[in-house]
C-alpha cells in the first residue's frame, strides 16, 4: 500500500472518530471551544506520532525476538503514559498558558483510544516503520479535523433552538451522525 493511499484512507475515508467511533470521550468533552479543540488535536497528534515511533521498534526489536508479544498491551499503554507525562512536564515548564488551559484533559490523553489504536494497528497491519508513521499522522490529523468540525458546529448551535429532549449530548451525536454521512462521500476518493 503506497504512502499517500494510507494517509488519505486514515484521514478521510476511515476517519477515526466519524467512521470508526474511536476517541469519542475527548471528542464530546473537548469540542466546546475551537481553541481547546485545536490544542487537544495537536497534542494528540504529537503524542500519537511519538508513541508510534517508540512502540514500533520496541515490538519488532524487543518483544518479537524475545517471544514476549503477549506483553504488547501492557508495554504500549505504559509507553504512552510515560510520553504523556513527559509532554506534561515540558508544557508546564515552557508553555504554561496551554498547560493550564488544557487542565485535566492533558493527563486524559493517556486514555485516548486513538493513540493506542494506532500503535496496535501499525503492528496488526504489518506496516513498515515509515508506513506506521504516515498512518499515525493521517489518523491524528483526521482526529483534529473531526474535533474542529464539531467545535464549529457546536458554536453555531449555541444560537439555535434545540428540542428539549435532545439538549446536551444527544444533539451532539445527531450532529456527528450528519457529519459522518458527509464523510461517507469520501469513500470514492481512492481508486
Amino acid at each position: 500500500m503506497d504512502l499517500i493511499r494510507i494517509f488519505v484512507l486514515a484521514l478521510l475515508v476511515n476517519n477515526i472518530v466519524l467512521m470508526r467511533f474511536i476517541a469519542l470521550c475527548s471528542y464530546i468533552g473537548m469540542t466546546g471551544d475551537i481553541g481547546q479543540s485545536i490544542g487537544m488535536g495537536t497534542s494528540v497528534t504529537f503524542v500519537t506520532v511519538l508513541a508510534t515511533a517508540v512502540t514500533w521498534p520496541i515490538y519488532h526489536y524487543i518483544l518479537m525476538p524475545l517471544n514476549l508479544t503477549f506483553l504488547k498491551i501492557l508495554v504500549f499503554i505504559l509507553v504512552i503514559a510515560c510520553l504523556v507525562q513527559l509532554v506534561e512536564f515540558y508544557l508546564k515548564k515552557n508553555v504554561p498558558g496551554l498547560y493550564s488551559a488544557m487542565g485535566i484533559y492533558l493527563p486524559l490523553i493517556t486514555t485516548n483510544c486513538a493513540i493506542l489504536a494506532v500503535t496496535f494497528e501499525s503492528i496488526d497491519f504489518n506496516y513498515t516503520f515509515i508506513q506506521s508513521i504516515v498512518y499515525a499522522v493521517g489518523v491524528s490529523l483526521g482526529y483534529l479535523l473531526a474535533m474542529i468540525l464539531l467545535a464549529g458546529v457546536r458554536d453555531r448551535m449555541k444560537t439555535s433552538k434545540v428540542p428539549k429532549f435532545l439538549q446536551g449530548t444527544p444533539i451532539l451525536f445527531v450532529a456527528t451522525s450528519l457529519i459522518g454521512m458527509a464523510f461517507m462521500g469520501f469513500a470514492g476518493l481512492m481508486k
Binding site: 498491551i73 505504559l78 496496535f120 429532549f165 444527544p170 451532539l172 451522525s177
Partner: protein, 225 residues
C-alpha cells in the same frame, strides 16, 4: 490511604446504582469510546460487554484488595499495569477459545485497557472502598454497560440487517436499512437513546418533585391548622 467517605450502601444498592441509576453509558456518560463500534450486531455487543465486565470486576477486586499497599503517588501507573494485565488475559482467552468473535471485534478488545469506565471506577471507587463493595460496583457498572450495548446493538442489527444475533427476525420481505449498521447510523441511534433516557429521567424528576411538593403542602396545612 484514608478510609473517609466509606460507602455505607448495601451490596444490592451499589449493584442497582451501576445497573440503572448511575448507568455508566446513559447517566455518567463515560466509556462511550468503544461502545458504538461494537454494536453493529448483538453478538459483538454481548461479547464486548462481558469482556469489559470481566476486566472491570477483576481490576476492581485486585485494586481494592491491595489498596493499602498502593502508594498514592504511583497509583496511576499501577492501576494501568493491573488493568492492562487483565485486558491481555481476556484478549488471549478470546483468541484461543472464541476466535471468530475475537476477529470480529478486532482492535476493540485490547482497547478495553483505556475504557474510561474501568479507569474511572478504579480511581473513584475501588481504590477507596472495601472489596465486597467494589465487587458490587463492578458487576453493576459492567452489566449496566452490557445491557445498554445490547439495546443499541439490537436496534441497529434489527433495522440494519433484519436479524438478531444472526437469527433472521424481520420478515424476508423487509429490506434492511443499511444506514443503521454504518457509523452515522450508530451515532444517531445512540443520540436518540440518550434523549429517550433524558426524557424518562425528566418525567421521573417531575413526578418526584410533584410528590415532594404534595408532602410539604400537607405538612404546611397541618402546621397552619
Amino acid at each position: 490511604m484514608s478510609e473517609e467517605g466509606k460507602d455505607t450502601r448495601s451490596f444490592w444498592q451499589v449493584f442497582k446504582a451501576g445497573l440503572i441509576f448511575e448507568n455508566p453509558l446513559l447517566v455518567l456518560m463515560i466509556g462511550i469510546c468503544s461502545s458504538l463500534a461494537v454494536t453493529s450486531n448483538v453478538s459483538n455487543g454481548i461479547g464486548m460487554g462481558l469482556a469489559m465486565t470481566f476486566v472491570l470486576v477483576f481490576s476492581e477486586i485486585f485494586i481494592s484488595a491491595f489498596r493499602k499497599l498502593i502508594p498514592n503517588a504511583a497509583r496511576l501507573p499501577i492501576f494501568i499495569i493491573i488493568i492492562a494485565a487483565f485486558t491481555t488475559i481476556v484478549d488471549l482467552v478470546m483468541k484461543a477459545y472464541f476466535p471468530a468473535l475475537s476477529k470480529s471485534m478486532g482492535v476493540f478488545i485490547p482497547l478495553i485497557v483505556v475504557n474510561c469506565i474501568i479507569m474511572g471506577r478504579v480511581e473513584a471507587y475501588s481504590s477507596k472502598q472495601k472489596v465486597i463493595s467494589s465487587i458490587a460496583d463492578a458487576f453493576g457498572m459492567g452489566l449496566g454497560y452490557t445491557w445498554v450495548l445490547i439495546v443499541i446493538a439490537a436496534v441497529r442489527e434489527l433495522l440494519g440487517n433484519g436479524t438478531f444475533a444472526g437469527i433472521q427476525v424481520m420478515p424476508v420481505s423487509y429490506t434492511p436499512i443499511l444506514f443503521f449498521i454504518l457509523p452515522p447510523g450508530g451515532f444517531l441511534v445512540f443520540g436518540l437513546l440518550m434523549s429517550v433516557n433524558n426524557a424518562i429521567k425528566r418525567s421521573i424528576n417531575k413526578r418526584e418533585a410533584l410528590a415532594a411538593k404534595q408532602v410539604s403542602d400537607q405538612q404546611k396545612a397541618k402546621e397552619n391548622a
